[in-house]
């Protein structure tokens, strides 16, 4: 029943996304609300979100295929599949953000490897190859040296690609909200948290009931509690450093998050739904052993993460670089007030739907994922 509901939701999401896909592919970028001042919008935030899930899921897959943790034996293939379906979702959203997406090949043929973006594009390409290789090895039950090598390389890449996203933002010295060394250090932890959240959903909702499933969920719940506390600490350090530094642009960025027009998204979705409710709910043993509830909490954490990614991107860009720029010239896409357009939402919903359906179809059609015996063993 749950799976059918998710299939239906995924299909509806894809239908809702058709408008956005058509608009972006055949009309262009005119219907977006980001522009020359708020240069990156919802799609970049969603790229961070999906890339975080992909790299985080891969990290979780190493518990099975690299570190041979008995408790997680059999779950690695699901984690790899999640990584495989969410990585393209990240790449679609970031490709749609390009003014000339038909020229993306230039990043391969004439890259500037000094630029974090070029490093990431090459890194993601290799990362997808590693995921595919690992899945093929898993299908053939080749758990030997080749698998260990693939997973080792993949784990290294997952950590550095996560940190690379932080560097993509952090290298911008002109954005005080981003320009600190902590950002690349924090992002791998964010990815790991996303990975734990998505595996709470996968194991809680898509694996058969068994004693070992309860143990796995309990372990993931404990990990999530710890990671939420770490994340909360990061949030505190980011905000307190900005506020205590007194640098006006940094303070204004934090004020926009905490008290701006969309403060409700921070307090309600990021903090309450994405952190506090999961934190306290998972401390209750009865909840952390309830597979459906654990999966639901995983969804809450991911929603909180989507908002958190947006709160990293938008407010930092909503501060004018120079006083007076806001009124100096008027025209389309020259605005510091950003709210995603209907078309941006449509694409985002569509991509979420596509990746959801891709995951579900995989669990039903890919032989490796249909075998449940090993998972429950």
């Amino acid at each position: 029943m749950l799976k059918k509901t998710l299939y239906a939701l995924g299909a509806v999401a894809v239908l809702l996304g058709l408008y956005g896909f058509y608009s972006r592919l055949f009309i262009g970028e005119r219907d977006v609300n980001y522009g020359s001042y708020v240069t990156w919008g919802l799609w970049v935030a969603m790229y961070l979100f999906f890339a975080g899930i992909a790299t985080g899921a891969f990290m979780l897959a190493t518990l099975d295929y690299l570190f041979n943790i008995r408790l997680f034996k059999g779950t690695g293939r699901y984690a790899l599949w999640v990584a495989l379906v969410t990585m393209p979702a990240a790449l679609i959203t970031i490709a749609f953000d390009l003014g000339h997406m038909e020229r993306v090949w230039k990043v391969y043929l004439n890259p500037n490897f000094g630029a974090p973006m070029a490093q990431l594009v090459w890194g993601y390409t290799l990362f997808v190859l590693v995921i595919v290789v690992a899945l093929i090895l898993a299908m053939r039950r080749l758990d030997g040296l080749a698998m260990k090598l693939a997973m080792g390389i993949g784990l290294f890449m997952a950590i550095f690609l996560s940190g690379g996203v932080g560097a993509l933002l952090g290298v911008n010295a002109s954005r005080p909200g981003w320009h600190n060394g902590m950002l690349p250090a924090q992002f791998p932890i964010f990815s790991l948290t996303s990975g734990v959240a998505v595996m709470m959903i996968v194991i809680g909702w898509f694996t058969p009931e068994s004693a070992i499933r309860s143990q796995r969920l309990r372990m993931l719940s404990i990990a999530m509690v710890v990671l939420i506390l770490v994340k909360a600490y990061y949030l505190w350090t980011d905000f307190s450093l900005a506020i205590y530094s007194g640098v006006p642009d940094a303070v204004e960025g934090v004020n926009l998050i905490l008290f701006g027009p969309y403060a409700w998204a921070f307090w309600g979705l990021q903090l309450l739904l994405g952190m506090l409710i999961p934190l306290f709910a998972l401390l209750v043993p009865r909840v952390s052993r309830n597979a459906f509830l654990v999966g639901l909490i995983g969804v809450c954490v991911l929603i909180g993460f989507a908002v958190a990614r947006s709160n990293i991107i938008f407010p930092a860009l909503a501060i004018p670089e120079l006083k007076g720029l806001i009124d100096a010239f008027h025209g389309p896409h020259l605005n510091f007030n950003y709210a995603p357009s209907l078309m941006e939402w449509s694409v985002t919903v569509g991509v979420v739907g596509l990746s959801t359906l891709a995951f579900l179809v995989g669990t039903d059609l890919v032989p490796l994922l249909k075998q449940t015996s090993e998972v429950t063993r």
Binding site: G35, T39, D97, H100, R103, V104, N112, P261, G331, P332
Partner: protein, 312 residues
């Protein structure tokens, strides 16, 4: 619904009036531009040849301008001297005398007309700052072209080497290489780059045969080629050709410099507030000005070393 992450209240009625006036100025500029359409319909080679002849025909009295000549004449002479050097020996800088800027926005409009900038793209806005509280109020105007930084943050973040500093120190954009990722826009500390989303001013205006005149010619003018970086860049309808989809920025009117003409914003400035020349030439106007103690550059603390100086 209030837009998110807004820092400023919505534009007041005063702003609305100001915007209307700006639109009026823009419309006047467009009308003037129509008059030059016929001239631009000539082949680019003819235009270039004509401009070269113009430079060659600059009177000796201008190229020999002494220290007491009008500053525009002196800058023209400076330019003529600089163009005789190898490109790598020149160091173009712009000096903006804030004491003389009256905030007329003529430079902004002239730049839009010269480079045929579409809606949403601006190279040289004039920032306005109100200082004090009524009745002790003053206003300050700060024209803001690209700073042509000697250490530009926009260059290293480009994933495809589409933006770079040329041998004369001008930061260029290779439109056909740019993928439109806006990383350079994000990195610029001055907000000096804008993205071209492919609009034209005429496209949203009404059309009525026999009632509205000039609309089609205005759109044809907008879609006809501009000559940034010395190449024709047209905007044919229904096609997504560069510079549409690209990052765009001020380039000190390189295409004019190569023809011996000063940047458009310099020649248009009614107060002689914008000055331009080769800082490597000790006799040039700009070389003498940037030594003054009351000269500053924007956000010097970042170490970007802008080539645009402000006299305050």
């Amino acid at each position: 619904m209030a837009p998110p992450f807004t820092k400023h209240p919505k534009a007041s009625e005063d702003n609305g009036r100001r915007n209307f006036l700006r639109m009026l100025v823009g419309a006047t500029g467009a009308a003037a531009a129509l008059q030059v359409l016929d001239a631009l319909e000539a082949a680019p080679e003819q235009v270039a040849e004509s401009l070269s002849q113009t430079v060659a025909n600059i009177p000796q009295s201008v190229t020999d301008a002494g220290p007491n000549a009008d500053v525009l004449i002196r800058m023209q002479a400076d330019l003529a001297r600089a163009l005789k050097k190898q490109p790598g020996e020149r160091r173009w800088v712009m000096v903006i005398d804030l004491r003389k800027c009256v905030g007329c926005h003529a430079c902004t409009i002239a730049c839009v007309a010269e480079n045929k900038l579409p809606p949403g793209v601006v190279y040289r806005p004039v920032l306005e700052e109100e200082i004090g509280a009524y009745p002790n109020v003053a206003r300050r105007f700060i024209p803001r072209p690209c700073m042509q930084c000697e250490r530009p943050p926009c260059v290293p973040v480009c994933p495809v080497n589409a933006t770079y500093t040329n041998e004369e120190g001008i930061v260029e954009v290779n439109y056909n290489q740019c993928i439109g990722c806006r990383a350079c826009l994000t990195a610029c500390p001055y907000g000096a780059r804008t993205s071209d989303f492919g609009y034209t001013y005429a496209e949203e205006t009404p059309s009525a045969d026999g009632l509205i005149f000039g609309r089609d010619r205005a759109e044809a003018y907008e879609r006809a080629a501009s000559y940034e970086y010395g190449q024709p860049w047209s905007r044919p309808p229904g096609k997504h050709l560069s510079p549409m989809g690209n990052a765009r920025k001020c380039h000190f009117c390189q295409h004019r410099l190569k023809q011996g003409m000063l940047p458009q914003c310099v020649t248009t400035c009614i107060g002689r507030a914008t000055l331009f020349g080769d800082a490597n030439d000790p006799d040039s106007v700009v070389a003498q000005l940037i030594k003054l103690p009351n000269v500053m550059r924007l956000k010097e603390e970042l170490g970007t070393q802008p080539r645009v100086y402000y006299i305050v």
